[in-house]
């Protein structure tokens, strides 16, 4: 099958849309309401094209190819219609360009320049619309919303339906739900899929300098496993660029200490493998769920509290790291933990919520393991503000006592990584033998649900790896029918795991997530040590500090509780 676009003959497959074909062939068609992850909205009416022999204009995002179609993507009529519609869209959007997650990469402005349109062709009709705050994690500024409804679709695809349409004076508007049975889990996938930056993290970007403004404190930044393959995008580097050394250098340039959270991921792995083995021996409560994703934890606590006993009690890596910094490291350095500020650079908005959970605070609330969470985007903005270009800094090495992590600690950032790391360690724990093949390829990849049976010394371990909370619903439904369907389940709320998290650079799509994840696995492959329990740091830590159960319990474990609706309006 062939079609012609702007005199160019192109071979196409049935089912493709004109837009898909055009983009594959580098023919630019402007869109705002199109996202390859989501349902075709066909609502912005910018991707208009002409089709020979048919009257009028067609939206290329929703028009399927047919053999012999002759398409024009540029004409006077097309340009006029696109420009008017774009100006109508801008009439809904209160511009706040200096403080926008798309800084410099705004699609709407780019299209506007191409079409020579005006951003103020009409008065901003939404300028007095409210901002809704979703807990300590994110905000929705409805004065910027262009009604594309991608966020509503995304929230629906997460199985949450917290964002919905409400009818006011003849208009449907996107609002957070008042339904007591629906609550935000802070995954931030709405933000990642909003084309105009109507969502942002709490404090993004007005509070990014706060951690550095506290006087007389030692400031420690730790960065999550996934950050090393995503933050480069914020500085114009190619997708999947590995910038671990740059991160150390960038943090040092801020005058702060820099630690790699992956180090603590190795601790999480060791503890989690230990817990898994214990649960397998006791045969309960099984299956065990991972709990390092705070979006998933909130989801479980709010929607499925009956599964709380199944969550591993092991804390997420940045919490363990924060705890270690304020106890183990503070002792080594002779510092008063009260004078240490820990900042986590996270791919995640739910981590902003995570640090407010009292059950994670130490010494009965006197000591918070982590004081601030900055997202990847926020940290990039902080560097830019301090004129530090991550692309140009000379990469640096980590400093003792927190050396390089294992490969296992790095792959935490991709869906399946926690599972794979834990399996590497659990295998050796159970069998006493070295794994012949370290890679568990069937738990890797971006598909929403991955299932595998792992043979550990004759015992068939049934595992599932899930990303996207709607897929968690499917697995939980399966468990309600057959409680023994699985032994161990990893859940990440965001698409693709942390590399697609709500704190990551925008835009994002399947290809970008793929490249971010692939680079993490490459780091693992190149690592000399690839199993958490073989980490010299971990071994040393268990000899020096985790030689008593109290310390382990305090730093590494937590509790969960049933949650009522938190985000009201």
């Amino acid at each position: 099958m062939k079609i012609t676009i702007n005199n160019q003959k192109i071979a196409v497959k049935e089912g493709q849309t004109i837009l898909e074909v055009a983009r594959q062939n580098k023919i630019d068609i402007p869109t705002l309401c199109y996202h390859s992850d989501l349902t075709i909205q066909a609502s912005c009416r910018l991707c208009l094209v002409e089709i020979e022999g048919r009257p009028g204009l067609y939206t290329s995002c929703s028009t399927k190819v047919e053999d012999g179609l002759v398409v024009k993507t540029e004409s006077e009529n097309i340009a006029r219609a696109r420009k008017i519609n774009l100006e109508l869209l801008f009439a809904q959007h209160r511009e706040e360009c200096a403080d926008c997650i798309y800084h410099g990469r705004c699609q709407a402005l780019k299209i506007c320049r191409q079409l020579k349109g005006k951003i103020n062709g009409f008065t901003d009709r939404k300028k007095d619309k409210p901002t809704f705050k979703f807990g300590p994690a994110l905000e929705f500024d409805s004065s910027k919303c262009i009604d594309c409804r991608l966020c509503v679709d995304m929230c629906h695809r997460q199985g949450i339906d917290f964002l919905e349409l409400e009818y006011h004076d003849g208009l449907y508007e996107v609002v957070p739900s008042k339904d007591p049975k629906k609550d935000c889990i802070y995954c931030g996938q709405c933000l990642m899929h909003c084309p105009v930056g109507a969502f942002e993290g709490v404090g993004e970007y007005e509070a990014i300098e706060k951690p550095l403004q506290e006087e007389g404190k030692t400031v420690v930044f730790q960065f999550a496993p996934s950050i090393r393959t995503t933050i480069g995008e914020e500085f114009g580097m190619p997708y999947g660029s590995v910038v671990t050394g740059h991160l150390f250098a960038g943090i040092h340039a801020l005058g702060a200490k820099a630690f790699d959270t992956s180090i603590a991921a190795d601790v999480t792995t060791v503890e989690e493998a230990k817990e898994l083995v214990e649960r397998l021996e006791k045969k309960e409560p099984l299956p065990m769920f991972t709990s390092c994703c705070p979006g998933w934890v909130k989801f479980c606590e709010f929607y499925y509290p009956e599964f709380i006993p199944n969550l591993t009690t092991v804390r997420s890596p940045h919490m363990i790291m924060g705890g270690l910094i304020k106890t183990y490291w503070a002792q080594k350095e002779g510092l008063d933990p009260k004078n240490i500020i820990v900042v986590s650079i996270m791919p995640c908005l739910a981590k902003k919520y995570d640090i407010t959970r009292e059950e994670l605070w130490l010494d009965k609330g006197a000591l918070k393991p982590v004081d601030y969470v900055l997202t990847t985007r926020e940290f990039a903005q902080l560097l830019r503000k301090r004129k530090i270009n991550l692309k140009e800094v000379k990469p640096e090495e980590p400093v003792a006592p927190f050396p390089l992590p294992t490969g296992a600690g790095v792959i935490y950032g991709a869906s399946g990584g926690v599972m794979e790391s834990a399996l590497r360690t659990a295998y050796e724990k159970i069998t006493g033998k070295t794994l012949p093949q370290l890679e568990f390829k069937n738990v890797r990849g971006l598909q929403g649900v991955k299932k595998a049976v792992v043979d550990i010394a004759g015992r068939k371990l049934k595992v599932a790896v899930v990303n996207g909370t709607i897929n968690a619903r499917k697995i939980l439904a399966e468990l309600k029918i057959d409680p023994h369907a699985y032994d161990y389940i990893e859940v990440m709320a965001c698409l693709g795991g942390c590399i697609g998290g709500g704190g990551q650079p925008v835009p994002v799509n399947e290809e970008i997530r793929q490249q971010r994840a692939a680079s993490l696995y490459q780091v693992d492959e190149k690592s000399v040590i690839r199993c958490a329990h073989n980490s010299p740091f971990v071994k040393n830590l268990y000899q020096e500090y985790f030689n008593n159960q109290d310390n382990i319990k305090k730093i590494c474990h937590t509790t969960f509780k049933k949650k009522n609706k938190e985000v009201n309006r």
């Binding site: 075709i40 609502s43 009416r45 219609a81 519609n85 109508l88 009409f122 409804r149 003849g170």
Partner: protein
């Protein structure tokens, strides 16, 4: 000659009476030829256009004939067809009990339309019955191919199905129902020959105005505006004629009513319709019409709206502005 029902419908050239005038026989043929065990028939009684009352008139006076028309459609399209009587909310409240009795054990479900004007759109009706937001679907596929729950679905206006029953009984006399109202002596629903001109319909019933007037034809919101010297043509759309006193009618008030209607009744999905109708309303309310802006808005509404509601918005405004108010657009 023994013709089947579709052939009979084709022979009398029955056109859809919901407003779009699509050949009924052709639509039936399409659904009939579509493979699939499960098929559906929806009798559309959304009647969302203001000043159109003919479907309500059928519900009141010819319920038996209407149900008979639905059953004939179900039988003709094949498969194990199920029927829906898709009623506007007030019609539902008024006629539900009456129809329950008539339907008895036949596989026809009475459905109360949740939405307004847009609920009359074929694909939006499918969305509504499936329990989703009343919004139009992307076409193709058309409901004849994939309608309710992905099954071939025949959607006909109530008047169309009423006449199908007459065609089946060989008593169809090439007539249709006209809603005549506004500044007339005797407003009401009348049955006349389909070929009558607007002037003839008005004259037939001594409704022809003696004042200076203009009419809106085919629907009280999206219908065309015609002057007294333009009435030598058949009635289009949903078959309504609304007469306006040229001297006493405030065109701004009329446009205000239309724009309120469109702002309220559209689904707010696509940019031109959501934003365009709002901006028209804004300008009309301020009585400050900017020709260039109106031209732009009409252009994108007509050319780029998602569904036919948006595409039809400029029609009455354009007519009124150019013909009655003498504004050059």
């Amino acid at each position: 000659m023994n013709l089947d029902l579709i052939q009979k419908i084709a022979q009398v050239n029955l056109l859809g009476r919901g407003g779009a005038a699509f050949p009924t026989a052709k639509k039936w043929e399409m659904v009939k030829n579509e493979p699939g065990k499960q098929k559906y028939v929806i009798c559309n009684v959304s009647e969302g256009e203001p000043k159109v009352y003919k479907d309500g008139y059928i519900l009141e006076n010819y319920p038996q004939e209407l149900i008979s028309g639905i059953l004939l459609a179900m039988k003709t399209i094949g498969g194990s067809a199920k029927g829906f009587l898709y009623l506007r909310k007030d019609y539902y409240q008024k006629y539900q009990e009456k129809f329950l009795k008539i339907i008895g054990s036949a596989p026809i479900e009475i459905f109360c339309e949740p939405g307004g004007y847009l609920g009359g759109d074929e694909s939006a009706a499918c969305e509504a019955i499936e329990g989703r937001c009343t919004e139009p679907r992307q076409k193709p596929p058309y409901p004849t191919q994939k309608g309710l729950w992905g099954c071939p679905t025949l959607i006909n206006n109530a008047e169309t199905l009423y006449y199908v029953d007459k065609i089946f009984k060989n008593s169809y006399k090439n007539t249709r129902l006209y809603s005549v109202n506004g500044n007339v002596e005797k407003s009401g629903v009348y049955e006349f020959n389909v070929d009558l001109t607007i002037a003839q319909v008005l004259k037939e019933n001594c409704n022809f105005p003696k004042i200076d007037f203009f009419v809106q034809v085919g629907g009280g919101a999206s219908g065309r505006i015609l002057l007294a010297n333009e009435l030598d043509q058949p009635v289009s759309g949903a078959g309504s004629i609304t007469v306006y006193d040229q001297k006493k009618t405030d065109p701004y008030q009329l446009m205000q009513e239309w724009s309120e209607f469109f702002v309220r009744e559209n689904c707010d999905k696509c940019t031109p319709c959501r934003e365009g109708t709002l901006r028209i309303r804004e300008m009309v309310a301020k009585k400050k019409l900017e020709v260039k802006v109106l031209q732009d808005l009409f252009f994108v509404l007509e050319q780029t709206s998602f569904c036919s509601l948006g595409k039809s918005v400029p029609t009455p405004f354009y007519d009124l502005l150019t013909k009655v108010m003498g504004i050059k657009l």
